[in-house]
């Protein structure tokens, strides 16, 4: 190797000032893979995507879900996605930005979805995650609760759960908690 370095060093001396290249944005393998995921998105018609930072920052985007069925019909729910440079080695970080009365989403926007944490695998993609989120609205489940109270109501009294969801989506109190209108 040494000879090469010697040659290169000498050439470098000669080439100084020849071209002044500034820092170049490096595209990580994670970005490339995400690029593929995004360009292959096949969203259900109830979901839309937006890129708050423009077309060249895919690592931070938002998904809006408008359920067409179930308890949450008529609501609009916003999720933020943050994707790391080592995606898909790590799952995207997802938060629900709309305060929602939901057994699997807490009031801080944490989402209990297995593929976002313990069951994430690099073969999964952004599309799978979005479908997973969508299903949380059509089929909320009380077996893996993050909002304990909402889960208990869904389990014991689905009618009341329905009423509570409506109250929350219209904007109002469920128990002590105030929800912004999201219809």
């Amino acid at each position: 190797m040494i000879k090469l370095f010697k040659v290169k060093e000498k050439q470098r001396e000669l080439a100084k000032n020849a071209n002044g290249k500034g820092p170049v944005k490096k595209q990580s393998a994670g970005e490339l893979r995400l690029h593929k995921d995004i360009s292959e998105l096949n969203l259900p018609k109830t979901c839309t995507i937006s890129f708050p930072n423009g077309k060249d920052d895919l690592m931070n985007f938002e998904i809006t879900i408008r359920p067409d069925d179930g308890y949450y019909l008529g609501g609009t729910f916003l999720f933020s996605f943050q994707v790391s440079s080592i995606y898909p080695h790590e799952p995207p970080k997802v938060k629900c930005k709309t305060k929602v009365y939901h057994p699997n989403i807490d009031l801080e926007g944490n989402v209990c979805l297995n593929i976002l944490r313990e069951d994430w695998k690099p073969v999964l993609n952004i599309n799978t995650v979005i479908y997973g989120l969508y299903h949380l609205f059509t089929e909320p489940n009380y077996e893996d609760p993050l909002n304990h109270d909402a889960a208990a109501v869904l389990r014991e009294n689905p009618k009341m759960f329905q009423t509570n969801v409506q109250k929350a989506m219209m904007g109002g109190y469920v128990g002590q908690t105030y929800f912004q209108r999201c219809m």
Partner: protein
């Protein structure tokens, strides 16, 4: 027999001045080799922590004179059991600066430049300057970044063989407790970090609903306090793992929760361990792994011996196990692979280029999206991005690529024909015909 005259390089000279049979392909023993290493070789050490301190010492005592070290961290008390260049009075100072100073004080003639900053803060030119990059890191992200930088200098000839003068070798080490690894990355020849990223197991993440509803272990209680309770109580305030008050809060919340559920084992130390994902670290393992890395660096540069091919694992938990594995590179790797060579005229529009890929016998790519240096030139989907990028279709690709005569472009789409189509992501080496001033040397930083 004559006794040698006293010299600092008494021991190293045996390896560098004498011919041998089990040596590297271009080994040319002699005093000139020794002097050339001093004069022409520049080594970058990434990280001035447990491995970095050892690496600087080992390299300084292996005949290298020009070293640089980059690290964004400051010295902490918990570093002192292994980062031997630091003293208690150094706590709070930048690691890179103190490490460089201490080694220069001890080893005469060595010059170490320190860089107290993030690796992303440096321009590509900074990295292109080094003969070899040695990594003493503890994060996958940082390894992946440096790997991408080093591989970006790599160029292939028309037969898809790496051009030797563009190869930026890397030597990487890592440790955890009594275990560690050392590896050589010769971009284009041995697997790069990205080819074998699966070697690094992803971090274990507990299901949030387990934390919220059915905690069973002390770690569950701690993560509940850290990930759920913190946000609930401190709306808007971000948790800072380096703030002792924040850590204390998480600890006491975890204790409360553990008591509530009758779960034993929450301690302050465990809280720190879980929240900061602390990896246990000791001096001896760092010494072993760094020494292997420094030795391989010397061998790669000088050719004074054959090298490791290409991955060494060490495990001292039960007895002592070392194992060498020859991993193979992924020829399709987006980071280090050759990609598909495409020669174009400067007048070709992006639309034409996309059509061309569909007919290209090696690609047969339809529904193509194109990205270049972080700029999305065209996206097939989703509609919002398609709309934003559509206007590029009628612009010459050369212009969209900032008139760079040859560069890497990544595309994805559906490959193959008929029913056998499958989605894929490909690397392309685009070369524009008839552009002057393209020489091998000044392209080093342009890939």
């Amino acid at each position: 027999m004559t006794a040698a005259t006293p010299s600092r390089s008494r021991d190293l000279d045996k390896l560098l001045l004498r011919p041998g049979h089990l040596v590297g392909p271009n080994f040319e023993p002699g005093p000139e080799l020794r002097e050339d290493i001093k004069e022409y070789v520049k080594v970058l050490v990434v990280g001035a922590g447990g491995l970095g301190c050892e690496l600087l010492k080992d390299l300084a005592l292996s005949g290298f004179r020009n070293l640089d070290v980059i690290d964004m961290d400051r010295i902490e008390v918990t570093n002192l059991n292994r980062q031997f260049l630091f003293r208690l009075e150094d706590v709070g100072k930048p690691k890179a600066e103190v490490a460089a100073k201490r080694v220069m004080e001890r080893v005469g003639g060595v010059n170490i430049m320190s860089h107290f900053c993030r690796i992303e803060d440096k321009p590509l030119d900074f990295y292109s300057d080094f003969s070899i990059i040695v990594l003493g890191l503890d994060s996958i992200e940082a390894r992946s970044y440096i790997n991408a930088v080093a591989c970006s200098f790599l160029e292939y000839d028309t037969d898809d063989n790496p051009r030797e003068e563009t190869v930026k070798p890397m030597v990487d080490g890592g440790t955890e407790g009594f275990k560690g690894h050392a590896r050589i990355i010769m971009p284009g020849t041995t697997p790069c970090f990205e080819c074998t990223i699966w070697l690094f197991p992803p971090q274990v993440k507990f299901p949030l609903c387990t934390l919220a509803e059915t905690p069973r272990t002390a770690a569950h209680c701690i993560e509940y306090a850290h990930l759920i309770k913190w946000d609930e109580v401190h709306s808007g305030k971000t948790f800072d793992p380096d703030n002792p008050e924040h850590m204390q809060w998480v600890y006491s919340e975890a204790v409360k929760r553990a008591e509530l559920f009758g779960i034993p084992g929450v301690t302050y130390s465990l809280t720190q361990g879980v929240v900061k994902n602390i990896i246990p670290a000791i001096a001896s393992t760092n010494a072993i792994i760094s020494a292997a890395c420094a030795l391989e660096t010397l061998k790669i540069i000088s050719g004074c011996s054959r090298t490791l091919t290409n991955y060494l694992t060490y495990n001292g938990v039960e007895g002592l196990h070392t194992k060498v594995t020859e991993f193979v590179r992924d020829r399709e790797c987006l980071v280090c692979g050759p990609g598909v060579l495409i020669e174009l005229d400067t007048s070709i529009t992006l639309r034409k280029f996309i059509d061309l890929l569909e007919g290209h016998p090696g690609l047969l790519l339809s529904r193509v999206s194109v990205t270049h240096r972080g700029k999305n030139l065209y996206m097939q989907a989703p509609p919002v991005l398609e709309e934003m990028t559509r206007s590029n279709l009628d612009v010459p690709l050369f212009d969209l690529m900032d008139k760079i005569p040859k560069d890497i472009v990544h595309v994805n789409g559906m490959a193959g024909k008929g029913d056998k189509k499958q989605s894929c992501l490909r690397k392309l080496r685009v070369v524009f015909n008839g552009i002057d001033g393209v020489t091998d040397v000044d392209m080093a930083g342009g890939a």
